[in-house]
C-alpha cells in the first residue's frame, strides 16, 4: 500500500524524523491561509503517481495570492488520470545540498537494503550506479552505527554530515521495520543549516502485514472492479481487451494471457481465482467476469488443489441462475477431470484438453 506524501510525513514525525512545517489543504482559500501563516511556501499535489514535479504538480509561492492561484491550478490538473484531492503547503526550506536516502527490500539478498547518494533531487533511475551506495542490513543484528559510517565513507561523507546520518538513519530504519514497510524513500533529503530534513516521503507498507497495523489508513489505487475482486480474495487486474480470462494460479494465468496475445487476441483481464477454491468462490469469480461484459469467456483449469468437478458445478450453477449467453472456450484437466467433464457434458458444454486449443478457439470466437 503506497502512502501519500503527507501520510508518509506524518509517520516520519511520529518517528522523530525532521520534516518541514506544513498544512494539509483541500482548496485554494485554505492554501492562501496556510501561506499567510508559513511565509514562502511550496505547494505539492498529493497523488500517488511519480513524476508529479515534471507534470507541474509542485509550485512555489511567496505570498497568499500566488498560493491561491497555484493551488487552484494544481487542483484542476490530472495526474495519469488521477486528480489531487489534497495539497500539502510546506514552508520553503533553505537547502544547501540535495541528497538521496531510501530503505527497501532486496529480494536477492533477502534483506532490507539502505540506498544512499549525494545525487539527490533527480530521478533515482538517472543516478549513476557507482554514485548510489547500497548496504544490505542483516536483520539478525539490525542497523548498526558501523554500517552508517561505512555508507558515509563510501559516499565520501565525513565530519558533521556523517554525524547527521548517524542520528537520522536509525530513525528511518526503526520506522521501516516497525511499520512493515517495503519502501521508505526520501528524495530529496535536504541538508539545511538546521541539519537533515525529509523534503519528500515515499512510503509503501507491505499489504500482507497490514493486519498488524490497524492504526494505518487504508489507501487503494484499485478500480471499483478490482476492489470488488479484492473483497472476494481474487487476484484481478483489468486490461484493455475483450476476451475475459479465468485460470487458477498466477503463472498459468499470465501464460494464458500471453498465449491469447500470441494468437492475435486481446485479454480483458487477469483473474487468478487461486488454488482449491470452492463452488461459491468459483461462482463469484465467474459472475464478476460476466459483469465486465466481455465478448468471449476463456476458462483455463489445470487442477492440482483445484478440483475440476467444483469448477464445472460452479459454471453450470451460474449458467442456470444468471445465464451465460456469450461464447465460452473451456479447458479442463487435472484433479477429478472425468467428473467435471461429465457435469458439463450433461449440459451440452464441450471442453478442451489442451490449453493451446482452448486459447486458439477463444481467439477465433472473438474475431
Amino acid at each position: 500500500m503506497k502512502l501519500y506524501e503527507y501520510l508518509g510525513k506524518e509517520l516520519f514525525n511520529r518517528f522523530d524524523i525532521p520534516v518541514p512545517g506544513s498544512r494539509l489543504v483541500e482548496n485554494a482559500e485554505q492554501a492562501g491561509a496556510a501561506a499567510a501563516e508559513l511565509g514562502d511556501v511550496v505547494i505539492k499535489s498529493q497523488v500517488l503517481t511519480g513524476k508529479r514535479g515534471k507534470a507541474g504538480g509542485i509550485a512555489f509561492a511567496s505570498d497568499p495570492e500566488e498560493a491561491r492561484k497555484e493551488a487552484s491550478r494544481i487542483l484542476n490538473m490530472s495526474f495519469s488520470g488521477y486528480a489531487a484531492e489534497k495539497l500539502l503547503v510546506e514552508e520553503k526550506i533553505a537547502i544547501e545540498q540535495e541528497l538521496y536516502l531510501a530503505i527497501t527490500i532486496d529480494g536477492t539478498a533477502q534483506r532490507p537494503v539502505v540506498l544512499a547518494s549525494l545525487d539527490g533531487g533527480m530521478d533515482v533511475e538517472d543516478v549513476p550506479e557507482e554514485r548510489m551506495i547500497r548496504w544490505p542490513v542483516d536483520v539478525g543484528i539490525g542497523l548498526q552505527p558501523y554500517m552508517i559510517r561505512e555508507i558515509c565513507r563510501q559516499m565520501g561523507v565525513s565530519g558533521s554530515l556523517q554525524k547527521e546520518f548517524l542520528k537520522f538513519l536509525p530513525k528511518l530504519y526503526r520506522m521501516f521495520k516497525e511499520l512493515d514497510a517495503e519502501l521508505a524513500e526520501i528524495n530529496p533529503l535536504a541538508l539545511t543549516p538546521q541539519g537533515l530534513i525529509a523534503a519528500d516521503a515515499k512510503v509503501t507498507i507491505d499489504d500482507d502485514a497490514l493486519y498488524r497495523h490497524p492504526e494505518l489508513p487504508r489507501i487503494s489505487e484499485k478500480t471499483d472492479l478490482e476492489k470488488k475482486a479484492e473483497e472476494l480474495d481474487l487476484a484481478y487486474v483489468e486490461l484493455e481487451g475483450d476476451i475475459a480470462v479465468m485460470a487458477n494460479g498466477a503463472g498459468i494465468t499470465m501464460a494464458t494471457l500471453d498465449m491469447v496475445q500470441h494468437y492475435g487476441g486481446e485479454p480483458a483481464n487477469f483473474l487468478d481465482f487461486g488454488g482449491g477454491a470452492d463452488v461459491e468462490k468459483t461462482s463469484k469469480s465467474l459472475e464478476l467476469l460476466l459483469g465486465t461484459d466481455p465478448r468471449v469467456l476463456l476458462i483455463n483449469i489445470f487442477g492440482g488443489i483445484t478440483r475440476c468437478d467444483v469448477v464445472a458445478e460452479a459454471f453450470v450453477g451460474v449458467k442456470k441462475s444468471k445465464g451465460i449467453d456469450l461464447p465460452v472456450s473451456f479447458r479442463l484437466v487435472g484433479t477429478n477431470e472425468e467428473e467435471g467433464r461429465a457435469i458439463l457434458e450433461k449440459e451440452g458444454i464441450k471442453t478442451f484438453e489442451s490449453m493451446d486449443e482452448a486459447v486458439r478457439h477463444a481467439v477465433e470466437l472473438s474475431g
Partner: protein
Amino acid sequence: MSVYINENTRVLVQGITGRQGSFHTGQMLAYGTKLVGGVSPGKGGQEVEGVPVYNSTFEALENHEAEASILFMPAPFVKDAAMEALDAGLKLLVLIPESIPLHDAMEIMAYAKQKNAVIVGPNTFGLVSSGSSKIGIMPNRYFIPGPVGVVSRSGTLCYEIVGHLTDSGIGTTTVVGLGGDRVVGLHFIDVLKKFEDDGDTRAVIMVGEIGGSAEEEAAAHIAANMSKPVIAYLAGKSAPPGKRMGHAGAIIERGRGTFESKVEALTGAGVKVADLPTQISPLVQSVLD
C-alpha cells in the same frame, strides 16, 4: 539421483490437522514420502492418516528423527512455526502458505542462514524428487523419474509444463518450486548449481516470470558456470507495468523486471527461451537426442 531430498528424507508436517495439512499428508504418503510425524499445538496424541501428531516440533523430534518439515498454517503463524523448526535443528523447510509478511520472511531467512538450513518458498508448491519423495502439494501423477531438472517460480504453470513432458514420455529428476513472493529462500542459481552437479540431470528447465531480477542473475550464472543445456519459459509478456500479476513478486516496477530484459539476458547466456509452454517438450527432446 535427486537433489535436496530423496527416498530416505524424513519429514514432519507442521499444521497437520488443518484442511490442507491433512489432505496433503495423505497425498504425500501416497507418493512415498517418509512422513514420520505431525505437529499441531494443542492437538498432540491424535493421528492423521496414521501419522502421529505432537504438540511441538521439539516433542516430535524426541520421538522421531527427521531432517525436513513442510508447513501448513495461516500466514501470521508461519514465522513462529518456521523459527521453532529451525531452532529444533531441521535442515530443510518447505513454506507452502502465501501472504507471509515480508519482514517475517526476511527474519526466517536470516535465522535459516545462521542454522545452515534451506528454506523453500514461501508461496511455493514445494519440491519433488520424482518417483521417490515429495515435500509439497503438486499433483502426484505428473512426476515420473527421468533426466530433466525443473525449477519454477510458479506452481500451476510448472504442472502444465511437466504435464506436457510426461505426455511426451520425458520424466524429471527433481522439480523445485521457488515460490512467488518477493523474499524466498531458494533462488534459480542455488538450484541450477545442484542440477549441474547431479549425475542424472541431463537438461534443465527454468520457469520464470516478470518482476525482480532472479532470471537476469540466473543468466549470468548460466553463462559462466553451466555446461548442461537450459531451456526457459517466462510468463508475463503481456503484463502491463505497475500491476501485480497475482504473485507478490510478479510486477514491473520503475522499468525493472521486464519480460524483454529477462529474455535478452537468458538468450545471451545461451538459454533457449520458448515462446509458448507447449514448445518446451520438443526443445527438451532436441537437446536430449
